[in-house]
Symmetry: C2
Subunit: 148 residues, 2 copies
Amino acid sequence: MVYDRGMKIGELANKTGLTTKTIRYYEDIGVLPEPGRHANGYRSYHPSVIDRVGFIKDAQASGLSLIEIQVILELRDEGESTCGHTVRLLESHLEDVQTQIIDLHRTKTLLEKMIVKAKALDPADCLNPNRCQTISATHLQMEGTGTE
Amino acid sequence: MVYDRGMKIGELANKTGLTTKTIRYYEDIGVLPEPGRHANGYRSYHPSVIDRVGFIKDAQASGLSLIEIQVILELRDEGESTCGHTVRLLESHLEDVQTQIIDLHRTKTLLEKMIVKAKALDPADCLNPNRCQTISATHLQMEGTGTE
DNA sequence: AAATACCTTCCAGCCGACTAGAAGGTTTGT
DNA sequence: ACAAACCTTCTAGTCGGCTGGAAGGTATTT
């Protein structure tokens, strides 16, 4: 059963660039399966786990959360016809990404406007709190004291 | 000193769309100044705070963190020439946003490829774990068992 | 006088992805 | 023989931006 050729956690950490802490954490939340154990209780990893970690990293880099990744991997581990689920998950995530891109573009535009506006100000005005409109995107005059 | 015409917190909440909890939280972290108090100890807000909240919301919508906003407002409250600093902050944040947009486009492309790939697969193959390549972005074959 | 709708403070928890440290067991090297 | 470098489990903390609840004070209405 326990074939002692399996990597120990430190070795896996070295090969994947994760820390041992992170590996155990991934195991806790289920994105990495519970590994076998050596006779002494140490975790024993099959080389294929390296690929699995690679997948996790790729998926993470694509913006999937560990929870989403966990769902995909779980389904896959069950040998289910994962593709349908996965495609749906991916598509839903793609939508999120598209929304995020749009939002970021809005943000970018806003920032650019703010910067242009700020730069156009006479520096002297900056010392006058009643005139500093640097950031005021729309209606803000940055006036006054807050409270009395 | 305490002029009782000031808004109470609930009124400010109504006018700004923040909750009273959030307003107190903003006070705690310093993006809103400590307000005056009514005779009974209730917070008493000057109307200008509404604008300040508006500024905070705009800045937040631009992706600035409350900490960054706090820095700007603090400087401004001190009568500093905030504009230069603010512009620098905004520009640095703009760079971040641009990077994020690029990253997200990469992600989007990756996701689209993954989806296309997944859809192109013969559904039957999905039942074969050794063939299900749905998600494998680059090098992943999604093969095998994890560990023994 | 009581109900209600405010207000006050403080403490606790949520999300996600870790990271740190304590307290111990094991293995390797000299 | 003993230190160092590994491994184990467990608990708890970090960041940011809130949100919730408890336990109490106050103001208004009935």
